[in-house]
């Protein structure tokens, strides 16, 4: 790639990612590609001066102690004032006691509710992990209007139980009664008995909160189908179809409603298309594993432009009081308040979302929930005014 212009000043931006996981590596690759492209295209203009980004990425191995050490290194050694796309909740939580006092603008991708704690001034949630379920269920009710009951399969650990409880609340807010949640060990491969039990409850829908997206997910579909279930399926996450269909036949996935990133559409919108093409050009093949974790990058640039400043206090106070809207490869996104969590700052994110259904062996787009409808759905479920 071409070098950035010589009159461009550089701003350091840090990111702490779990490089022991494929999605961590993919997110690093994606951010590096986006930053290089951004610098090559002239960077961002703030008060008439062009700035490029110098990205510094450290590995936290999804552990609090490693994440804390990485945060200290970024803030105290590298003198970074912006951190983006941190995924691991242990890292985010461990680092808050550094980033907040040091006034580091921290645009997080993780799931922990600590991100949207009302005591935070410089920390914002930019992925939609906390707000993606209401629009999913809005779409589920459109696709399966007569569905009244559901059974959940969830991993028997903190993450699985938390997601199951959240999704149960949301499902019931949309008029779908959760008959039972069947828990399995995180490393389970045999779902036959649980599938027989699920089928015996005769639900209209099966849901899989907290599930892994690959082969294990496919084994669940296979077992459910073998037990005789022929109802609808829901997935809050985008399954890795190649791995899922390697073990479960197409008939086992029939009707599955799942999130569909814009990059996977037959004719993606311009930003999604540009990102996908640039990624393939640099790395040879596409991976959508990072799509959920990179909105922070686009939010950062949008925030700098809106504030016309690189001062983190100016940026943080502006977006916390006035909000922020930005485009990401997956569509329009906006910061929202969380009155249900006693936080009236703009601190969390909602995004428009596209969904697909698996029909006759193919992933077929079934519709989109517009940004305003996403926010309305979240308000309905969690309460309060989020705009």
């Amino acid at each position: 790639m071409a070098q950035p212009p010589k009159d461009m000043k550089m701003v350091k931006v840090g990111s702490i990612l779990p490089l022991n996981f494929g999605m961590g590596v993919d997110t690093k690759n994606m951010l590096e590609m986006l930053v290089a492209k951004f610098n090559e295209e002239g960077g961002v203009a703030v008060k008439g001066q062009k700035y490029g980004i110098e990205l510094i990425v450290y590995d936290d191995k999804w552990k609090a102690e490693e994440g804390r050490a990485a945060t200290e290194r970024l803030v105290y050694q590298d003198k970074v004032k912006f951190i983006i796309s941190t995924i691991a909740s242990p890292t985010i939580v461990a680092g808050l006691s550094i980033t907040e006092p040091e006034k580091v603008l921290n645009l997080c991708s993780g799931t922990t509710l600590k991100i949207v704690d009302p005591n935070n001034r410089f920390t914002f949630g930019t992925s939609t992990t906390r707000t993606s379920l209401p629009p999913l269920w809005l779409m589920v009710k459109k696709v399966y209007p007569n569905a009244k009951t559901a059974v959940f399969f969830a991993p028997n650990d903190e993450g699985g139980r938390t997601r199951a409880a959240e999704e149960k609340q949301i499902a019931e807010a949309f008029g779908v009664k959760v008959l039972d949640t069947l828990f399995y060990p995180r490393d389970a491969v045999d779902f036959s008995s649980l599938a027989v039990k699920a089928k015996s409850l005769n639900p209209d829908l099966m849901d899989y909160p907290g599930a892994d997206t690959g082969t294990q997910f496919g084994l669940q579909f296979k077992a459910i189908y073998a037990a005789g279930f022929r109802g609808g399926h829901i997935s809050a996450i985008n399954p890795k179809m190649a791995e899922v269909t390697a073990v479960a036949g197409n008939e086992a996935l029939e009707g599955l409603v799942a999130k569909l990133p814009d990059t996977e559409l037959p004719d993606p919108p311009p930003l999604a298309k540009a990102v996908k093409e640039a990624y393939i050009k640099k790395y040879g093949k596409w991976s959508d594993a990072s799509i959920a974790w990179i909105p922070a990058w686009f939010a950062l640039i949008a925030a700098m432009k809106k504030a016309d400043s690189l001062d983190t206090e100016t940026i943080a106070d502006l977006i916390a009081t006035k909000g922020l809207q930005w485009q990401r490869p997956d569509g329009a996104t906006m910061l929202v308040r969380r009155p249900d969590l006693k936080n009236n700052r703009y601190c969390d994110s909602c995004a428009e979302a596209g969904y697909s259904q698996f029909k006759n062996g193919k992933v077929v787009p079934v519709g989109r929930v517009a940004l305003n409808d996403v926010v309305s759905a979240c308000e309905k479920v969690f309460g309060g005014s989020w705009r």
Binding site: P185, D190, G214, L219, A227, V247
Partner: protein
């Protein structure tokens, strides 16, 4: 519980149980004849699964041909392992135990480096189900039960009706006496080790299309196989068979009633069995004098 639910759980339990029976039988054969507790047994099971996967997916071979190749490769690896590792230290049980743990770690790390951490899946060669009245039973589980049954029948014939099997049983009973009868005990140890590991590899290959394939799949299985041996009796082949079925049935029905806590039932029932039969159902208790 309806008849359909009971039938499905029973078939599931028998399918899991048959896999444990095969792996446990291999373990008992190695323990009984060669006098080695092979902690790498689970890794041979894993290698059987991976070999079947690669033969089917990469070389596009028929499932049964892939199985045959998998058994051959695993048996060859077992022969190499015995010849270069266990042959020299067979008389020292502690050294053999340590060596088998080391072998397990080597195979596991080697497979992680070679195959990565990614879970693999193999499409089932027996898709769909068989309808029996109101009950639909998954074809692949029925195929597992049938295949394992044939293999175990073959093992029975080998051990009870052939000269080689007679020699193995003789060595198991009394090595010195067998040697005095003209039996080449070193050759018997090698064959028993290879057959035992090949059984594990075959079980891995049979189960490969049913579940996913990962480098650590042998570890979890080995733990349950140890429990099958404890339930059945450490050196009893019949005990191993019964133990395998008990484990499989308890896990299947237990998961239906208790979900992720089914292992509590398993340990509870094993505890009760051991209270009344400390040596297992067909084993002998080891007393202290």
């Amino acid at each position: 519980m309806t008849v359909a639910v009971f039938a499905q759980l029973l078939v599931n339990g028998l399918a899991i149980g048959m896999v444990y029976v095969m792996v446990a039988s291999g373990l008992i054969l190695v323990l009984g004849v060669v006098r080695i507790f092979n902690f790498a047994h689970g890794e041979f099971y894993m290698l059987g699964a991976y070999t079947t996967f690669f033969m089917c997916q990469v070389f596009h071979l028929n499932f049964f041909i892939s199985l045959a190749i998998a058994i051959s490769i695993v048996a060859l690896l077992a022969v190499i392992s015995y010849t270069f590792v266990f042959h020299y230290i067979r008389s020292d049980i502690l050294l053999c135990t340590a060596a088998s743990i080391g072998l397990s770690m080597m195979i596991l790390r080697g497979s992680l480096l070679s195959f990565g951490t990614e879970e693999r899946g193999l499409p089932s060669p027996f898709p769909g189900g068989i309808k029996l009245g109101e009950v639909t039973l998954p074809s692949e589980k029925l195929a597992v039960i049938l295949l394992c049954f044939f293999v175990m029948s073959g093992l029975y014939v080998l051990l009870m009706k052939t000269k080689l099997g007679k020699a193995m049983r003789a060595v198991r009973l009394d090595t010195e006496a067998a040697s005095l009868q003209g039996i080449n005990t070193n050759r018997i140890y090698l064959i028993a080790f290879a057959v035992g590991c090949a059984l594990a590899g075959l079980a891995g290959g049979i189960i490969a299309p049913v579940y996913s394939i990962t480098s650590n799949m042998g570890h979890a299985l080995l733990l349950n196989c140890f429990m099958a041996l404890i339930v059945g009796g450490l050196e009893s082949m019949l005990g191993g068979v019964l133990g395998g079925f008990v484990i499989g049935i308890i896990l299947s029905f237990g998961a239906y009633f208790l979900g992720g806590f089914s292992e509590i039932i398993l340990f509870g029932i094993i505890g009760i069995i051991l209270v009344f039969k400390p040596g297992g159902l067909f084993g002998e208790a080891v007393g202290h004098e």
